[in-house]
């Protein structure tokens, strides 16, 4: 009798435990579904209404049309803005990565007085809003009478991306690399050669990560590009002025295009990196 009772209790407990687990995982999946829904909602709607047959990118959906994509490709201002964005993003990222790498190398490998202060100084722009960085630069450029152009946008983008590149590369400079560098030096390599032919290749993954992060930020940055440009503008600024010049699904079309292309690039990178890491 007592034994029976005990068995039943443990049975119930076991049952309860299983129930709890099932419930828990059900809740997890439900949550996952909801939040993915939230995350993808704007993108899905954006893409859907880029095919809208009509001028209003809101329900009802009138039918399928490619007219807004044609409009995007016919718009020379948009294509020029795309090229400008690409140019600014790559150039500013190359500069930011180079400067960031050199500084990280120096601060990680040599003992310099005030190195903590230098690190802090290099990271500092990260904690300041882009708007403030842009305003400060704008005021100084005005005072010196320097004309705004894509160059000034590039300068601003290096300012915001340098801390990022420095931090990412600096964080990956482990002490275990020192021995390899020392070996190379013992074999007669000059400091410059050690840095460019030994250290840089060893750190390539993090340098590339810094580079692509920096390209992403520069590509999508609005306020600096808006305040520091004049005639030639980058894509976000062009989209902004497109938005202000009236409502139509062309904005949806360019948004969807940018999204699809970036995702494609991302997947290629992911597969390339993922493939390599699995091989090794």
């Amino acid at each position: 009798m007592a034994f029976d009772q005990q068995a039943r209790t443990s049975d119930v407990l076991l049952h309860q435990g299983r129930l709890k687990r099932v419930l828990g995982s059900c809740l997890s999946w439900l949550y996952l579904a909801c939040i993915y829904g939230f995350i993808f909602l704007p993108v899905a709607v954006l893409v859907l209404f880029s095919f809208q047959d009509g001028r209003l990118p809101v329900p009802p959906f009138n039918g399928f049309s490619l007219q807004w994509y044609e409009a995007v490709f016919a718009d020379r201002k948009l294509t020029a803005a795309l090229a400008n964005s690409f140019l600014v993003a790559t150039t500013s990222s190359v500069v930011a990565c180079t400067l960031g790498f050199l500084a990280a190398y120096a601060l990680a490998r040599y003992k310099l007085p005030g190195s903590a202060l230098q690190r802090g100084l290099l990271i500092a722009p990260m904690t300041v809003s882009y708007l403030i960085i842009a305003l400060g630069l704008l005021a100084v450029l005005n005072t010196f009478g320097i004309r705004l152009s894509l160059w000034t946008v590039g300068i601003g983008h290096v300012v915001i991306n340098l801390p990022l590149c420095f931090a990412v590369i600096y964080a990956s400079m482990g002490d275990h690399h020192i021995n390899i560098e020392r070996a190379a030096r013992d074999l007669g390599a000059s400091d410059f050669k050690v840095m460019t032919l030994v250290t840089a290749p060893m750190l390539m993954p993090s340098i590339m990560a810094a580079f692509f992060l920096s390209v992403t930020f520069s590509w999508d940055e609005f306020i600096i590009a808006f305040l520091l440009s004049r005639f030639d503008v980058t894509l976000p600024v062009e989209i902004w002025s497109m938005l202000r010049s009236g409502l139509n699904p062309k904005t949806n079309a360019i948004g969807s295009l940018v999204f699809l292309v970036s995702v494609a690039v991302l997947l290629v990178l992911e597969l390339a990196l993922f493939g390599r890491s699995r091989k090794s």
């Binding site: 995982s25 997890s28 999946w29 949550y31 996952l32 939040i35 993915y36 995350i39 993808f40 704007p42 709607v45 954006l46 209404f49 809101v58 329900p59 400067l99 960031g100 050199l102 500084a103 190398y105 120096a106 601060l107 990680a108 490998r109 040599y110 310099l112 230098q118 100084l121 290099l122 500092a124 990260m126 904690t127 300041v128 809003s129 708007l131 403030i132 960085i133 305003l135 400060g136 630069l137 005021a139 100084v140 601003g156 290096v158 300012v159 600096y170 964080a171 990956s172 400079m173 609005f222 976000p236 989209i239 902004w240 938005l243 904005t251 949806n252 948004g255 940018v258 999204f259 991302l266």
Partner: protein, 287 residues
């Protein structure tokens, strides 16, 4: 060569390497910033900028409720966004790290941050269309009879918060996830051995261990959110202006750089205050 001169030449080399980055930061960040701080103490009179030191701009900020409200709106919105984003992102990161099978985790994570690659401006615009009375959300809810009147979720603070939370959930999921997977499973096993249930394990072990990562993410959210102009400008319907909007009004409508500078310094102080509050969890370290 003596050790002293060797050390000297080493040091010179190191300076040469670090100099370009330092010079760039000083020339294009520190000097502009100091210039702006100085400018905030000048004032605009008619068409000229008067280079006389005074605190008029700051006095005006504290005496004009429209300006002061900008700061309180900014703080309220930013804090709401930060808290909501952490609350939504933590479970997501947790589920991806704990419930999703290992081989799918990377995919799940990439999916969770994929919309990050739509243009920022376009994303806000997309939310504007979604949230309006004739938009997808209201039409769908009306269609299935869940509501009888369209919800007032566009062109107000709610819309701004939704737009922000959407962006920062993605960002925070990434930070928190990378923190969670670094935790050794031994911690959990040890806690279980000591008789802790799942909740206790989470509360006393996992949460404190991931707190630095969460705080770093939250601080980043705070900085990016309080300084953003686009999202409130597109989604907020010019109701309850935030500080960056007011700063842009100063430059855009009246070229009042000194006032814009003063407001920027105030924005800066808000960020510094947040930094001081989170400082003990924030650090950038070398592996």
């Amino acid at each position: 060569m003596t050790t002293a001169t060797l050390e000297q030449s080493e040091r010179r080399k190191a300076w040469a390497l670090v100099a370009p980055a330092l010079l760039w930061t000083v020339a294009f960040f520190v000097i502009p910033f100091l210039y702006m701080a100085a400018m905030s103490l000048w004032s605009r009179q008619g068409r000229d900028i008067l280079r006389v030191w005074n605190l008029d701009n700051y006095a005006r900020f504290f005496s004009e409720s429209a300006l002061l409200r900008g700061l309180t709106n900014s703080l309220e919105i930013t804090l709401t966004v930060t808290v909501l984003s952490v609350l939504l992102a933590y479970p997501l990161a947790w589920i991806i790290a704990e419930r999703v099978p290992k081989r799918w985790q990377r995919m799940a994570l990439i999916l969770a941050i994929l919309p990050f690659w739509t243009s920022y401006v376009v994303r806000s615009y997309s939310w504007l269309l979604l949230l309006s009375k004739g938009g997808v959300i209201n039409q769908a809810l009306l269609g299935i009879g869940l509501i009888s009147e369209p919800l007032e979720i566009a062109s107000n603070r709610t819309a701004t918060v939704i737009g922000f939370v959407h962006f920062f959930v993605m960002l925070l999921t990434l930070t928190i996830y990378s923190n969670l997977i670094q935790l050794s499973p031994n911690y959990r096993r040890a806690a279980a051995d000591l008789g802790a249930n799942a909740f206790q394990t989470f509360w006393h072990v996992i949460l404190p261990l991931t707190l630095p990562g969460v705080m770093t993410g939250a601080f980043l959210t705070f900085v990016l959110c309080i300084g953003d102009y686009i999202t409130p400008q597109i989604l907020g319907g010019n109701n309850e202006l935030v500080l960056p909007q007011i700063i842009m009004l100063q430059i855009g409508r009246r070229a009042d750089f000194p006032m814009a500078a003063a407001l920027s310094i105030i924005l800066m102080l808000a960020v510094t205050a947040a930094y001081v509050l989170c400082a003990r969890w924030l650090k950038i370290e070398r592996a």
